[in-house]
Protein backbone atom coordinates (compact mmCIF):
# COMPACT_ATOMS: atom_id res chain seq x y z
CA UNK A 1 0.00 0.00 0.00
CA UNK A 2 2.98 2.31 0.33
CA UNK A 3 2.84 3.25 -3.33
CA UNK A 4 -0.82 4.12 -3.29
CA UNK A 5 -1.63 7.22 -5.20
CA UNK A 6 -4.08 9.88 -4.11
CA UNK A 7 -6.35 8.57 -6.84
CA UNK A 8 -6.36 5.05 -5.40
CA UNK A 9 -7.72 6.55 -2.19
CA UNK A 10 -10.26 8.84 -3.85
CA UNK A 11 -11.01 6.86 -6.96
CA UNK A 12 -11.44 5.09 -9.26
CA UNK A 13 -13.98 7.00 -11.27
CA UNK A 14 -16.38 4.21 -12.09
CA UNK A 15 -19.86 3.14 -12.96
CA UNK A 16 -21.64 1.93 -9.83
CA UNK A 17 -22.75 0.24 -7.81
CA UNK A 18 -19.89 -1.99 -6.71
CA UNK A 19 -16.16 -1.92 -7.30
CA UNK A 20 -15.88 -5.69 -7.20
CA UNK A 21 -19.17 -6.65 -8.88
CA UNK A 22 -19.36 -3.88 -11.47
CA UNK A 23 -15.99 -2.18 -12.04
CA UNK A 24 -14.05 -5.45 -11.73
CA UNK A 25 -16.50 -7.17 -14.06
CA UNK A 26 -16.06 -4.47 -16.72
CA UNK A 27 -12.31 -4.87 -16.42
CA UNK A 28 -12.48 -8.63 -16.96
CA UNK A 29 -14.66 -8.14 -20.02
CA UNK A 30 -12.20 -5.64 -21.46
CA UNK A 31 -9.26 -7.95 -20.81
CA UNK A 32 -11.00 -10.76 -22.70
CA UNK A 33 -11.69 -8.48 -25.63
CA UNK A 34 -8.02 -7.54 -25.81
CA UNK A 35 -7.12 -11.17 -26.48
CA UNK A 36 -8.97 -10.99 -29.78
CA UNK A 37 -7.97 -9.25 -33.01
CA UNK A 38 -11.11 -9.61 -35.10
CA UNK A 39 -14.76 -8.73 -34.65
CA UNK A 40 -16.56 -10.54 -31.87
CA UNK A 41 -19.92 -11.92 -32.98
CA UNK A 42 -20.86 -13.95 -29.95
CA UNK A 43 -20.06 -14.00 -26.27
CA UNK A 44 -21.09 -16.51 -23.66
CA UNK A 45 -20.59 -15.84 -19.95
CA UNK A 46 -20.62 -18.42 -17.19
CA UNK A 47 -21.05 -16.68 -13.86
CA UNK A 48 -20.16 -18.29 -10.56
CA UNK A 49 -21.39 -17.86 -7.03
CA UNK A 50 -21.72 -14.22 -5.98
CA UNK A 51 -21.30 -12.99 -9.58
CA UNK A 52 -24.32 -15.05 -10.57
CA UNK A 53 -26.37 -13.64 -7.71
CA UNK A 54 -25.44 -10.01 -8.33
CA UNK A 55 -25.87 -10.40 -12.08
CA UNK A 56 -28.78 -7.99 -12.04
CA UNK A 57 -28.62 -6.15 -8.71
CA UNK A 58 -25.06 -5.03 -9.28
CA UNK A 59 -25.24 -4.92 -13.04
CA UNK A 60 -22.50 -7.54 -13.25
CA UNK A 61 -23.86 -8.87 -16.53
CA UNK A 62 -24.06 -5.43 -18.14
CA UNK A 63 -20.58 -4.58 -16.96
CA UNK A 64 -19.09 -7.79 -18.34
CA UNK A 65 -20.83 -7.34 -21.67
CA UNK A 66 -19.89 -3.65 -21.86
CA UNK A 67 -16.29 -4.54 -21.12
CA UNK A 68 -16.29 -7.09 -23.94
CA UNK A 69 -17.48 -4.33 -26.27
CA UNK A 70 -14.49 -2.26 -25.16
CA UNK A 71 -16.12 0.15 -22.75
CA UNK A 72 -14.17 1.33 -19.76
CA UNK A 73 -15.23 1.07 -16.13
CA UNK A 74 -16.31 4.70 -16.16
CA UNK A 75 -18.38 4.58 -19.38
CA UNK A 76 -22.03 5.49 -19.10
CA UNK A 77 -22.57 2.95 -21.88
CA UNK A 78 -22.11 0.03 -19.49
CA UNK A 79 -25.60 0.61 -18.21
CA UNK A 80 -27.01 0.12 -21.70
CA UNK A 81 -24.68 -2.69 -22.71
CA UNK A 82 -27.44 -5.14 -23.61
CA UNK A 83 -29.20 -2.66 -25.88
CA UNK A 84 -25.94 -1.65 -27.53
CA UNK A 85 -24.96 -5.29 -28.07
CA UNK A 86 -28.31 -6.09 -29.62
CA UNK A 87 -28.04 -3.03 -31.85
CA UNK A 88 -24.58 -4.11 -32.95
CA UNK A 89 -25.73 -7.64 -33.62
CA UNK A 90 -23.50 -9.11 -30.95
CA UNK A 91 -25.06 -12.30 -29.59
CA UNK A 92 -24.69 -12.76 -25.86
CA UNK A 93 -25.84 -15.15 -23.16
CA UNK A 94 -25.36 -15.64 -19.45
CA UNK A 95 -25.52 -18.85 -17.51
CA UNK A 96 -24.77 -19.89 -13.99
CA UNK A 97 -21.95 -22.31 -13.29
CA UNK A 98 -20.79 -24.23 -10.23
CA UNK A 99 -17.23 -25.15 -9.31
CA UNK A 100 -15.87 -26.11 -5.93
CA UNK A 101 -13.44 -23.75 -4.26
CA UNK A 102 -13.77 -21.06 -6.90
CA UNK A 103 -13.48 -17.39 -5.88
CA UNK A 104 -17.03 -16.08 -5.36
CA UNK A 105 -16.68 -13.33 -7.97
CA UNK A 106 -15.65 -15.43 -10.94
CA UNK A 107 -16.59 -15.68 -14.59
CA UNK A 108 -15.68 -17.62 -17.72
CA UNK A 109 -15.88 -15.55 -20.90
CA UNK A 110 -16.16 -17.37 -24.22
CA UNK A 111 -15.75 -15.22 -27.32
CA UNK A 112 -16.35 -16.17 -30.93
CA UNK A 113 -14.98 -14.05 -33.78
CA UNK A 114 -16.56 -13.58 -37.19
CA UNK A 115 -14.08 -16.07 -38.67
CA UNK A 116 -15.19 -18.66 -36.13
CA UNK A 117 -12.08 -18.43 -33.97
CA UNK A 118 -12.79 -18.99 -30.29
CA UNK A 119 -11.07 -17.39 -27.32
CA UNK A 120 -11.75 -17.87 -23.65
CA UNK A 121 -10.70 -16.16 -20.49
CA UNK A 122 -11.52 -16.96 -16.88
CA UNK A 123 -11.00 -14.53 -14.07
CA UNK A 124 -12.07 -13.27 -10.70
CA UNK A 125 -12.75 -9.83 -9.29
CA UNK A 126 -10.86 -9.76 -6.04
CA UNK A 127 -11.90 -6.41 -4.55
CA UNK A 128 -11.45 -2.70 -5.10
CA UNK A 129 -11.81 -3.17 -8.85
CA UNK A 130 -8.74 -5.41 -9.02
CA UNK A 131 -8.95 -8.63 -11.01
CA UNK A 132 -6.97 -11.78 -11.53
CA UNK A 133 -6.94 -13.79 -14.76
CA UNK A 134 -7.07 -17.48 -13.88
CA UNK A 135 -6.93 -18.99 -17.34
CA UNK A 136 -6.48 -18.06 -20.98
CA UNK A 137 -7.81 -20.54 -23.55
CA UNK A 138 -7.77 -23.28 -20.97
CA UNK A 139 -4.21 -22.70 -19.84
CA UNK A 140 -4.02 -21.91 -16.16
CA UNK A 141 -2.67 -18.48 -15.22
CA UNK A 142 -2.36 -16.42 -12.04
CA UNK A 143 -2.18 -13.02 -13.54
CA UNK A 144 -2.85 -9.82 -11.70
CA UNK A 145 -1.61 -6.68 -13.32
CA UNK A 146 -2.36 -3.01 -13.58
CA UNK A 147 0.37 -2.27 -16.08
CA UNK A 148 0.21 -2.38 -19.85
CA UNK A 149 1.34 -5.79 -21.04
CA UNK A 150 2.21 -7.83 -24.09
CA UNK A 151 0.77 -11.32 -24.26
CA UNK A 152 2.40 -13.81 -26.61
CA UNK A 153 0.82 -17.07 -27.66
CA UNK A 154 3.67 -19.27 -28.79
CA UNK A 155 5.02 -22.79 -28.97
CA UNK A 156 7.21 -23.63 -26.00
CA UNK A 157 10.82 -24.10 -27.21
CA UNK A 158 14.41 -23.40 -26.15
CA UNK A 159 15.49 -19.80 -26.52
CA UNK A 160 12.18 -18.20 -27.42
CA UNK A 161 11.97 -16.17 -24.25
CA UNK A 162 15.45 -14.77 -24.81
CA UNK A 163 14.45 -13.69 -28.32
CA UNK A 164 11.36 -11.94 -27.04
CA UNK A 165 13.14 -10.10 -24.25
CA UNK A 166 15.93 -9.08 -26.63
CA UNK A 167 13.35 -7.63 -28.99
CA UNK A 168 11.78 -5.63 -26.15
CA UNK A 169 15.17 -4.38 -24.99
CA UNK A 170 15.89 -3.14 -28.50
CA UNK A 171 12.61 -1.24 -28.36
CA UNK A 172 13.80 0.31 -25.09
CA UNK A 173 10.85 -1.11 -23.21
CA UNK A 174 11.49 -1.86 -19.58
CA UNK A 175 10.06 -5.14 -18.36
CA UNK A 176 8.30 -4.80 -15.02
CA UNK A 177 7.33 -8.43 -14.70
CA UNK A 178 7.14 -11.65 -16.69
CA UNK A 179 4.92 -14.67 -16.34
CA UNK A 180 5.01 -17.82 -18.38
CA UNK A 181 2.19 -20.34 -18.59
CA UNK A 182 2.20 -23.48 -20.69
CA UNK A 183 0.11 -26.58 -21.18
CA UNK A 184 3.08 -28.96 -21.51
CA UNK A 185 6.71 -29.02 -22.67
CA UNK A 186 6.92 -28.13 -26.33
CA UNK A 187 3.22 -27.26 -26.50
CA UNK A 188 1.08 -24.12 -26.42
CA UNK A 189 2.31 -21.42 -24.08
CA UNK A 190 1.40 -17.91 -23.11
CA UNK A 191 3.78 -15.32 -21.84
CA UNK A 192 2.63 -12.10 -20.26
CA UNK A 193 5.22 -9.35 -20.17
CA UNK A 194 4.32 -6.31 -18.14
CA UNK A 195 5.84 -3.11 -19.41
CA UNK A 196 6.50 0.06 -17.44
CA UNK A 197 5.88 2.49 -20.27
CA UNK A 198 3.01 2.82 -22.67
CA UNK A 199 3.96 1.55 -26.13
CA UNK A 200 2.84 1.44 -29.72
CA UNK A 201 0.42 -1.36 -30.65
CA UNK A 202 2.34 -1.88 -33.88
CA UNK A 203 5.10 -3.73 -32.08
CA UNK A 204 2.79 -6.70 -31.60
CA UNK A 205 2.68 -7.23 -35.36
CA UNK A 206 6.45 -6.80 -35.58
CA UNK A 207 7.07 -9.30 -32.82
CA UNK A 208 4.85 -11.89 -34.44
CA UNK A 209 6.53 -11.51 -37.81
CA UNK A 210 10.03 -11.53 -36.41
CA UNK A 211 10.14 -14.55 -34.12
CA UNK A 212 9.44 -18.13 -35.17
CA UNK A 213 6.84 -20.11 -33.28
CA UNK A 214 4.93 -17.07 -32.11
CA UNK A 215 1.34 -17.67 -33.15
CA UNK A 216 -0.14 -14.48 -31.86
CA UNK A 217 0.60 -11.34 -29.90
CA UNK A 218 -1.88 -9.24 -27.97
CA UNK A 219 -1.56 -5.91 -26.29
CA UNK A 220 -3.27 -5.24 -22.98
CA UNK A 221 -3.78 -1.56 -22.31
CA UNK A 222 -4.82 -1.82 -18.71
CA UNK A 223 -5.86 1.71 -18.04
Amino acid sequence: MSNNSLFDVIGPIMVGPSSSHTAGAAKLGRLARQLVHGDIVEVRFTLYDSFARTYRGHGTGKALLGGVMGYDLDSEELKHAETIATFRGLKFSFEEGHKDGIHPNSVDIHLTEDNGKKTSLSGSSIGGGNVVITSINGIETRLQTNLPAIVTHHRDRVGILAEITKFLAEKKLNIAGMNLYRSAVGKDAYMVVEIDQAFDDAISQELRDLIDDIMDVFVIENR
Binding site: I10, I13, S19, K79
Partner: protein, 298 residues
Protein backbone atom coordinates in the same frame (compact mmCIF):
# COMPACT_ATOMS: atom_id res chain seq x y z
CA UNK B 1 8.14 13.18 1.62
CA UNK B 2 6.12 10.21 2.78
CA UNK B 3 4.07 9.22 5.80
CA UNK B 4 2.49 6.05 7.11
CA UNK B 5 0.78 7.33 10.23
CA UNK B 6 -1.03 10.34 11.54
CA UNK B 7 1.91 11.08 13.79
CA UNK B 8 4.34 11.09 10.88
CA UNK B 9 2.02 13.37 8.95
CA UNK B 10 1.74 15.84 11.83
CA UNK B 11 5.52 15.76 12.33
CA UNK B 12 6.08 16.57 8.68
CA UNK B 13 3.59 19.43 8.86
CA UNK B 14 5.38 20.85 11.88
CA UNK B 15 8.91 20.34 10.62
CA UNK B 16 8.31 21.93 7.23
CA UNK B 17 5.62 24.37 8.34
CA UNK B 18 3.19 22.92 5.86
CA UNK B 19 -0.48 22.11 5.93
CA UNK B 20 -1.71 18.55 5.41
CA UNK B 21 -2.67 19.17 1.79
CA UNK B 22 0.80 20.45 0.98
CA UNK B 23 2.49 17.39 2.47
CA UNK B 24 0.07 15.17 0.54
CA UNK B 25 0.77 17.07 -2.65
CA UNK B 26 4.52 16.70 -2.17
CA UNK B 27 4.12 12.99 -1.59
CA UNK B 28 2.02 12.61 -4.72
CA UNK B 29 4.50 14.63 -6.79
CA UNK B 30 7.35 12.37 -5.67
CA UNK B 31 5.47 9.08 -5.90
CA UNK B 32 3.93 9.69 -9.32
CA UNK B 33 6.63 11.74 -11.03
CA UNK B 34 3.87 13.95 -12.43
CA UNK B 35 3.61 17.71 -12.32
CA UNK B 36 1.47 19.77 -9.98
CA UNK B 37 -0.51 20.94 -12.96
CA UNK B 38 -1.35 17.37 -14.01
CA UNK B 39 -2.32 16.34 -10.52
CA UNK B 40 -4.52 19.41 -10.04
CA UNK B 41 -6.20 18.75 -13.36
CA UNK B 42 -7.04 15.20 -12.28
CA UNK B 43 -8.38 16.41 -8.95
CA UNK B 44 -10.54 18.97 -10.74
CA UNK B 45 -11.86 16.25 -13.01
CA UNK B 46 -12.69 14.03 -10.02
CA UNK B 47 -14.50 16.95 -8.38
CA UNK B 48 -16.53 17.52 -11.53
CA UNK B 49 -17.55 13.87 -11.66
CA UNK B 50 -18.46 14.01 -7.97
CA UNK B 51 -20.69 17.05 -8.38
CA UNK B 52 -22.21 15.61 -11.53
CA UNK B 53 -23.12 12.43 -9.65
CA UNK B 54 -25.06 14.56 -7.16
CA UNK B 55 -26.97 16.26 -9.99
CA UNK B 56 -27.69 12.90 -11.61
CA UNK B 57 -28.99 11.45 -8.38
CA UNK B 58 -31.30 14.41 -7.81
CA UNK B 59 -32.57 14.42 -11.38
CA UNK B 60 -35.08 11.57 -11.32
CA UNK B 61 -37.17 9.21 -9.24
CA UNK B 62 -35.90 6.28 -11.29
CA UNK B 63 -35.50 3.09 -9.35
CA UNK B 64 -32.12 1.61 -8.60
CA UNK B 65 -31.01 -1.69 -10.15
CA UNK B 66 -32.11 -3.60 -7.07
CA UNK B 67 -35.26 -1.51 -6.80
CA UNK B 68 -34.72 -0.52 -3.15
CA UNK B 69 -33.91 3.15 -3.81
CA UNK B 70 -36.72 5.11 -5.37
CA UNK B 71 -35.64 8.71 -5.52
CA UNK B 72 -35.62 9.49 -1.79
CA UNK B 73 -32.90 12.09 -2.26
CA UNK B 74 -34.93 14.03 -4.83
CA UNK B 75 -37.97 13.89 -2.58
CA UNK B 76 -36.00 15.27 0.36
CA UNK B 77 -34.42 17.98 -1.77
CA UNK B 78 -37.76 19.09 -3.14
CA UNK B 79 -39.50 19.22 0.20
CA UNK B 80 -36.93 21.48 1.82
CA UNK B 81 -38.31 24.82 2.92
CA UNK B 82 -41.65 23.37 3.96
CA UNK B 83 -40.75 23.70 7.62
CA UNK B 84 -41.81 20.19 8.42
CA UNK B 85 -38.43 18.83 9.48
CA UNK B 86 -36.35 18.94 12.63
CA UNK B 87 -32.98 19.49 11.05
CA UNK B 88 -32.33 22.81 9.35
CA UNK B 89 -32.74 22.94 5.57
CA UNK B 90 -29.10 23.53 4.91
CA UNK B 91 -28.11 20.39 6.78
CA UNK B 92 -30.77 18.28 5.15
CA UNK B 93 -29.70 19.54 1.77
CA UNK B 94 -26.25 18.06 2.33
CA UNK B 95 -27.85 14.79 3.39
CA UNK B 96 -29.84 14.84 0.14
CA UNK B 97 -26.60 15.38 -1.81
CA UNK B 98 -24.98 12.34 -0.22
CA UNK B 99 -28.01 10.14 -0.78
CA UNK B 100 -28.20 11.40 -4.36
CA UNK B 101 -24.73 10.05 -5.09
CA UNK B 102 -25.79 6.68 -3.70
CA UNK B 103 -28.83 6.68 -5.98
CA UNK B 104 -26.68 7.60 -8.94
CA UNK B 105 -24.35 4.75 -7.99
CA UNK B 106 -27.16 2.24 -7.60
CA UNK B 107 -28.53 3.17 -11.04
CA UNK B 108 -25.17 2.40 -12.64
CA UNK B 109 -24.28 6.06 -12.91
CA UNK B 110 -20.69 7.29 -12.81
CA UNK B 111 -19.28 8.04 -9.35
CA UNK B 112 -15.92 8.53 -7.69
CA UNK B 113 -15.18 5.87 -5.09
CA UNK B 114 -14.29 7.79 -1.92
CA UNK B 115 -12.81 5.57 -0.66
CA UNK B 116 -15.32 2.95 -1.88
CA UNK B 117 -18.43 3.01 -4.05
CA UNK B 118 -20.69 2.31 -1.07
CA UNK B 119 -19.37 5.35 0.78
CA UNK B 120 -19.03 7.61 -2.24
CA UNK B 121 -21.70 10.11 -1.18
CA UNK B 122 -20.23 11.84 1.83
CA UNK B 123 -17.18 13.65 0.50
CA UNK B 124 -18.91 15.06 -2.63
CA UNK B 125 -21.83 16.20 -0.49
CA UNK B 126 -19.83 18.12 2.09
CA UNK B 127 -17.57 19.64 -0.57
CA UNK B 128 -20.49 20.83 -2.68
CA UNK B 129 -22.14 22.35 0.35
CA UNK B 130 -18.93 24.04 1.48
CA UNK B 131 -18.41 25.38 -2.02
CA UNK B 132 -21.91 26.84 -2.12
CA UNK B 133 -22.17 28.24 1.36
CA UNK B 134 -18.61 29.49 1.76
CA UNK B 135 -18.12 30.59 -1.82
CA UNK B 136 -14.95 28.59 -2.27
CA UNK B 137 -12.74 28.70 -5.32
CA UNK B 138 -11.28 25.64 -7.01
CA UNK B 139 -7.95 25.95 -5.21
CA UNK B 140 -9.65 25.56 -1.84
CA UNK B 141 -11.58 22.52 -3.03
CA UNK B 142 -8.37 20.97 -4.29
CA UNK B 143 -6.81 21.55 -0.86
CA UNK B 144 -9.80 19.86 0.78
CA UNK B 145 -9.53 16.92 -1.64
CA UNK B 146 -5.85 16.46 -0.80
CA UNK B 147 -6.55 16.72 2.94
CA UNK B 148 -9.22 14.03 2.68
CA UNK B 149 -6.86 11.94 0.57
CA UNK B 150 -4.11 12.14 3.18
CA UNK B 151 -6.43 10.82 5.89
CA UNK B 152 -7.69 8.02 3.64
CA UNK B 153 -4.15 7.08 2.69
CA UNK B 154 -3.06 6.65 6.30
CA UNK B 155 -6.06 4.47 7.01
CA UNK B 156 -5.51 2.34 3.91
CA UNK B 157 -1.92 1.77 4.98
CA UNK B 158 -2.92 0.62 8.44
CA UNK B 159 -6.38 -0.89 8.15
CA UNK B 160 -8.94 -2.12 5.70
CA UNK B 161 -11.48 0.32 4.26
CA UNK B 162 -13.84 -2.22 2.74
CA UNK B 163 -17.08 -3.32 4.34
CA UNK B 164 -16.27 -6.91 3.41
CA UNK B 165 -13.19 -6.81 5.61
CA UNK B 166 -13.80 -4.20 8.28
CA UNK B 167 -17.55 -3.66 8.38
CA UNK B 168 -19.38 -0.42 7.69
CA UNK B 169 -17.31 1.39 10.33
CA UNK B 170 -14.35 0.89 7.99
CA UNK B 171 -16.16 2.04 4.87
CA UNK B 172 -18.55 4.78 5.97
CA UNK B 173 -16.22 5.50 8.90
CA UNK B 174 -13.30 6.26 6.62
CA UNK B 175 -15.21 8.44 4.19
CA UNK B 176 -16.58 10.34 7.18
CA UNK B 177 -13.13 10.75 8.70
CA UNK B 178 -11.76 11.99 5.38
CA UNK B 179 -14.65 14.42 4.97
CA UNK B 180 -14.43 15.74 8.52
CA UNK B 181 -10.73 16.51 8.09
CA UNK B 182 -11.43 18.30 4.80
CA UNK B 183 -14.13 20.40 6.45
CA UNK B 184 -11.81 21.43 9.28
CA UNK B 185 -9.23 22.57 6.76
CA UNK B 186 -11.79 24.61 4.85
CA UNK B 187 -12.65 26.56 7.99
CA UNK B 188 -9.00 27.29 8.70
CA UNK B 189 -8.36 24.57 11.27
CA UNK B 190 -4.83 23.26 11.74
CA UNK B 191 -3.40 19.84 10.93
CA UNK B 192 -3.93 18.42 14.41
CA UNK B 193 -7.52 19.56 14.43
CA UNK B 194 -8.06 17.85 11.07
CA UNK B 195 -6.93 14.52 12.51
CA UNK B 196 -8.91 15.08 15.70
CA UNK B 197 -12.05 15.46 13.61
CA UNK B 198 -11.14 12.28 11.73
CA UNK B 199 -10.72 10.45 15.04
CA UNK B 200 -14.14 11.59 16.27
CA UNK B 201 -15.72 10.27 13.09
CA UNK B 202 -14.63 6.71 13.83
CA UNK B 203 -15.40 6.95 17.51
CA UNK B 204 -18.99 7.87 16.76
CA UNK B 205 -19.69 4.77 14.71
CA UNK B 206 -17.13 2.29 16.03
CA UNK B 207 -18.42 -1.23 15.49
CA UNK B 208 -21.01 -0.48 12.82
CA UNK B 209 -21.57 -3.68 10.84
CA UNK B 210 -21.92 -4.07 7.08
CA UNK B 211 -25.30 -5.65 6.43
CA UNK B 212 -26.68 -4.52 3.09
CA UNK B 213 -30.07 -5.95 2.18
CA UNK B 214 -29.70 -8.68 -0.44
CA UNK B 215 -26.02 -7.77 -0.63
CA UNK B 216 -26.82 -4.71 -2.73
CA UNK B 217 -25.20 -1.33 -2.14
CA UNK B 218 -28.60 0.29 -1.59
CA UNK B 219 -30.04 -0.12 1.90
CA UNK B 220 -29.00 0.81 4.52
CA UNK B 221 -26.09 2.28 2.57
CA UNK B 222 -27.85 5.39 1.25
CA UNK B 223 -29.02 6.44 4.71
CA UNK B 224 -25.64 5.72 6.21
CA UNK B 225 -24.13 8.13 3.72
CA UNK B 226 -26.67 10.65 4.97
CA UNK B 227 -25.66 9.93 8.54
CA UNK B 228 -22.02 10.25 7.51
CA UNK B 229 -22.65 13.82 6.43
CA UNK B 230 -24.11 14.75 9.81
CA UNK B 231 -21.32 12.93 11.60
CA UNK B 232 -18.63 14.64 9.53
CA UNK B 233 -20.08 18.10 10.16
CA UNK B 234 -20.44 17.45 13.88
CA UNK B 235 -16.88 16.14 14.18
CA UNK B 236 -15.50 19.09 12.21
CA UNK B 237 -17.32 21.56 14.43
CA UNK B 238 -16.07 19.92 17.61
CA UNK B 239 -12.51 19.92 16.32
CA UNK B 240 -12.83 23.58 15.32
CA UNK B 241 -13.89 24.26 18.88
CA UNK B 242 -10.50 22.72 19.70
CA UNK B 243 -11.95 19.74 21.47
CA UNK B 244 -9.08 17.27 21.37
CA UNK B 245 -9.19 13.56 20.73
CA UNK B 246 -7.96 11.96 23.94
CA UNK B 247 -7.02 8.85 21.98
CA UNK B 248 -4.74 9.86 19.10
CA UNK B 249 -5.78 9.23 15.50
CA UNK B 250 -3.41 6.31 14.90
CA UNK B 251 -4.71 4.47 17.93
CA UNK B 252 -8.29 5.10 16.89
CA UNK B 253 -7.56 3.63 13.46
CA UNK B 254 -5.95 0.58 15.09
CA UNK B 255 -8.97 0.17 17.34
CA UNK B 256 -11.30 0.37 14.37
CA UNK B 257 -9.21 -2.19 12.51
CA UNK B 258 -9.19 -4.54 15.49
CA UNK B 259 -12.94 -4.30 15.80
CA UNK B 260 -13.21 -5.06 12.08
CA UNK B 261 -10.95 -8.08 12.35
CA UNK B 262 -12.98 -9.57 15.16
CA UNK B 263 -16.29 -8.89 13.47
CA UNK B 264 -18.10 -12.10 12.48
CA UNK B 265 -18.13 -12.80 8.75
CA UNK B 266 -21.92 -12.58 8.83
CA UNK B 267 -21.57 -8.86 9.60
CA UNK B 268 -19.19 -8.14 6.76
CA UNK B 269 -21.09 -7.63 3.53
CA UNK B 270 -22.12 -11.26 3.21
CA UNK B 271 -25.79 -10.39 3.70
CA UNK B 272 -25.94 -13.15 6.33
CA UNK B 273 -26.24 -10.98 9.43
CA UNK B 274 -27.61 -7.74 10.82
CA UNK B 275 -30.37 -6.10 8.83
CA UNK B 276 -29.72 -8.36 5.88
CA UNK B 277 -30.69 -11.41 7.92
CA UNK B 278 -34.13 -10.13 8.91
CA UNK B 279 -37.13 -12.00 7.50
CA UNK B 280 -38.12 -8.93 5.48
CA UNK B 281 -34.66 -8.57 3.94
CA UNK B 282 -34.53 -12.29 3.19
CA UNK B 283 -37.89 -11.99 1.49
CA UNK B 284 -36.64 -9.15 -0.69
CA UNK B 285 -33.54 -11.11 -1.51
CA UNK B 286 -35.53 -14.15 -2.50
CA UNK B 287 -37.83 -12.16 -4.72
CA UNK B 288 -34.99 -10.36 -6.39
CA UNK B 289 -32.86 -13.34 -7.15
CA UNK B 290 -35.53 -15.82 -8.09
CA UNK B 291 -36.43 -13.37 -10.82
CA UNK B 292 -33.13 -12.91 -12.54
CA UNK B 293 -32.96 -13.74 -16.20
CA UNK B 294 -30.09 -15.99 -15.26
CA UNK B 295 -32.10 -18.42 -13.23
CA UNK B 296 -34.81 -18.47 -15.85
CA UNK B 297 -32.18 -20.21 -17.93
CA UNK B 298 -31.98 -17.63 -20.62
Amino acid sequence: MNFFSGKQLLDLCKEHELEIWQVMLNRELEASGRTEKEIFADIEHSLEVMFHSIDQGLATYDRSLGGLLTGQSKKLYEELGEEKFYLPDRTLKVVAYAMAVMECNARMGVIVAAPTAGSSGILPAVLKDAKETMNLDTQKLIEAFLTAGAVGLIVMQNASVSGAQGGCQAEIGTSTAMSAAALVHLKGGNARQCLDAASFAYKNIMGLVCDPIAGLVELPCAKRNGLGVLNAMLCADLALLDVRSVVPFDEVVDAMNNVGNTMPVAMRETALGGLAATPTAKGIEHELFSNTELNKGR
